[in-house]
Symmetry: C2
């Protein structure tokens, strides 16, 4: 009986896996260049780790189960709660600032659709213990490094930066009560996904008067930070928030990534825990959901049971980024699985296995026909493998072999040579290594 895979999950055949690993390695490179270290936690956590932070309704969007002892366990929907738990457990012993990154498999029980799956991978950067815009700029610079690293340019994507303190000050300045701000933020975060009329209805239902709604509309139409000062909205709170954003943009310029970034008063982020700068990476054409989302969350660690510590970071999923790279033709082709394919004229396992052992011992990825096929079939298998070198045994006595380089350029490069596979002579071994491109030193 054939069993299907579960909805919203993926099988990673060799090509898909090669792409996934390529992407993860690009994430790791960007993280490590900035001196971040990798951490991980369990995929199975107590359900309360998520309900404590986000309320019991989050359980609706999670996969969770009750074990035989009645403990409720959830599959992690994101890494941040685990991070907070791990930091709280060793807070006194961890050197500050904490520069951690993580590549998680995460699970969300929601409708599977374009750019959204139930099982996905997420890259997280968290910088804990750093106050001020330099921390936010450091995180954004790592995100941009990763974007460059996968071949994207400022013509493909943009980092849209805002600050919740600015938006909050502006909203309050419109006379909207403090306790309504979270609700207004939640509505504004839906702006890209619903028509303007629907948004207006939601805002009216949230109790905003028409002058307040118009004020919001005017604010959301701003194109740059300069527009703010022009409109005399500069209360001291707004002024301070604008100053902070100016400092952030100055850092981004010194990181050399100004052309990747722009101010966008409409960026809010859905999660409640952000306290300062918030930002998202979007494709310029606006075809996809946000590719990255990040910001500052100075209260989360304290709220989750640890000592309060300033913190900022971001997450980036593999699904939307993968779709974008695919669409831009930036998904690299998978490498062949072998460097060498060993063939032999006559069946002779001992000689074959000695040759394989010798080549693998040199670090070469080596295949051979495990089915004892005829030489013609072996040549077909060698071709199918994509291996660069064919190593043919049996034309001369062991350990002599003929080696053909299928990728040697026509002009001058040596296409084939006869060599011993167990050379006594160090000079001959060196020549063989050069031909096979091993340990180029």
């Amino acid at each position: 009986m054939k069993i299907q895979s579960a909805r919203g999950t993926r099988d990673f055949y060799p090509e898909d896996m090669a792409f996934r690993q390529w992407l993860v390695e690009r994430w790791r490179e960007a993280s490590r260049r900035a001196g971040f270290v990798e951490v991980d936690g369990p995929e199975l956590e107590s359900l309360e780790l998520y309900t404590d932070k986000s309320g019991p309704e989050i359980a609706e969007q999670l996969y969770w189960l009750e074990d035989k002892s009645g403990r409720k366990l959830a599959l992690r929907p994101e890494f941040t709660p685990t991070l907070a738990r791990m930091i709280a457990a060793r807070q006194a012993a961890l050197p500050e600032p904490i520069r951690w990154f993580n590549v998680s498999r995460c699970f969300r029980y929601e409708r599977a659709q374009k750019g959204r799956l139930r099982e996905f991978f997420q890259w997280n950067i968290d910088l804990v213990g750093v106050e001020g815009e330099i921390g936010d700029a450091e995180c954004i610079s790592i995100a941009v490094d990763a974007l460059k690293n996968v071949g994207l340019t400022p013509a493909d994507v943009q980092v849209k930066v805002n600050d919740r303190r600015l938006l909050g000050a502006l909203v309050r300045h419109l006379g909207i009560a403090e306790e309504r701000v979270p609700q207004v933020f939640a509505i504004l975060d839906k702006r890209a996904k619903v028509p303007p009329e629907a948004l207006a209805v939601m805002l009216a239902e949230a109790g905003l008067e028409s002058a307040q709604r118009e004020g919001l509309e005017r604010i959301l139409a701003w194109q740059g930070l300069g527009d703010i000062e022009a409109r005399e909205l500069a209360t001291s709170e707004i002024h301070a928030a604008v100053e902070a954003l100016n400092r952030l943009f100055a850092h981004l310029e010194h990181y050399g990534i100004a052309e990747w970034c722009r101010f966008d008063i409409g960026i809010v982020r859905g999660l409640a825990y952000y306290t300062g700068p918030v930002w998202e990476v979007h494709d310029l054409k606006g075809e996809f959901r946000a590719i990255f989302g990040g910001g500052r969350y100075d209260r989360l660690l304290g709220d989750m049971g640890g000592k309060a510590m300033p913190a900022c970071g971001f997450g980036c999923g593999d699904v939307v980024l993968g779709l974008l790279l695919e669409e831009r033709g930036l998904r690299p082709a998978a490498e062949p699985a072998a460097d060498c394919f060993v063939l032999r004229e006559k069946p002779d396992w001992p000689e074959m296995l000695k040759a394989v052992r010798f080549l693998r011992g040199m670090g070469l990825r080596t295949q051979f026909d495990l089915k004892e096929g005829r030489l013609k079939r072996q040549h077909e298998k060698a071709l199918e493998s994509g291996a660069r070198f064919k190593v043919i045994l049996g034309e001369a006595p062991w350990p002599r072999a003929r080696i053909i380089d299928s990728r040697a350029a026509a002009d001058g490069a040596m296409k084939e040579r006869v060599a011993d596979l167990a050379p006594d002579d160090p000079e001959a071994l060196k020549n063989l290594k050069v031909f096979l491109g091993v340990g180029a030193s």
Copy 2:
């Protein structure tokens, strides 16, 4: 409120994660050297994928849940059923033989104890489409390559090899009925874990007469393949099984790994699906559970709904291997997270960030003090980071910096130099790169 991690799961702080990644990379190297490619599947699969293969009682040892549509989903306890599902889905299109490897996070709901956790990582090698002992030998050679790769020797571990066809023929030759063989195998697999008297009781309860039990005891006392021929048990079936094992051991010798491997009539493997050679890797002192388990399973793919295909492979978990490496002092120390730490005499973010950008652009993992500390504090942070190079700005005008190599040997190696961090002169850039050990070419 502090929330604990779930029982039988692990947090991977930077050092633990570095070790996990190191181990996974050693597995990957051994896999790739043999020309295998990485694949993966979901961690969340239909529960029936496991109950179909192993019977409904397996659900007791799994984490599973029912989703809102009433579908039962399980967290994978192993990768093989996913592999079988993936192969069945594309059987016609996949080039043969299939050389796949996988590193899975797996979940088992069983008592957490030494060497056994509820969440663990497992390396799998599967070679599908190859009949005969050459396939089994190829798999064993990959396992041994990985053992070497983590620093173990034949003085630490041994591959214990048997063949179910041999043990089956011997058991039948004792007059034990065919339908009792699986039960006898299951009892024999427990041999290392229960006292001999308990084993005798279980065998008696399985209906074995005392002569049959004594016969089994005699067989299990054999030390080598040679003992078999000496006892005139050579029915044609036994003879064929011994011949097959001899071929397997000849291959292992030609792979150059004979000293790692020995015959052990007592190796059975718990899983029902093995059909030929079976093997385990054990530490020589017998302190730990089996480190690897593998064998041939020629019927599994057909039974799981695909076309029948010969197959062999193995699995290796991270927990027991990790304990063994720890105990043998083979767990490598984690690398520092940074190559360079940039310091500056006076606060000046623009110069700092330009320097950081330049060094990261060269591929160097670069940290700096994000807290605008005094120079003394910056030196402390640099030391804490473990970075090899201190890059000190501000003693001379930008882009000039003093660079100190904290690891330069006393004898002759250059310990420090002054250089421009944005050199116009290609020769100066080359010298800087040599000093920093970048792109040694």
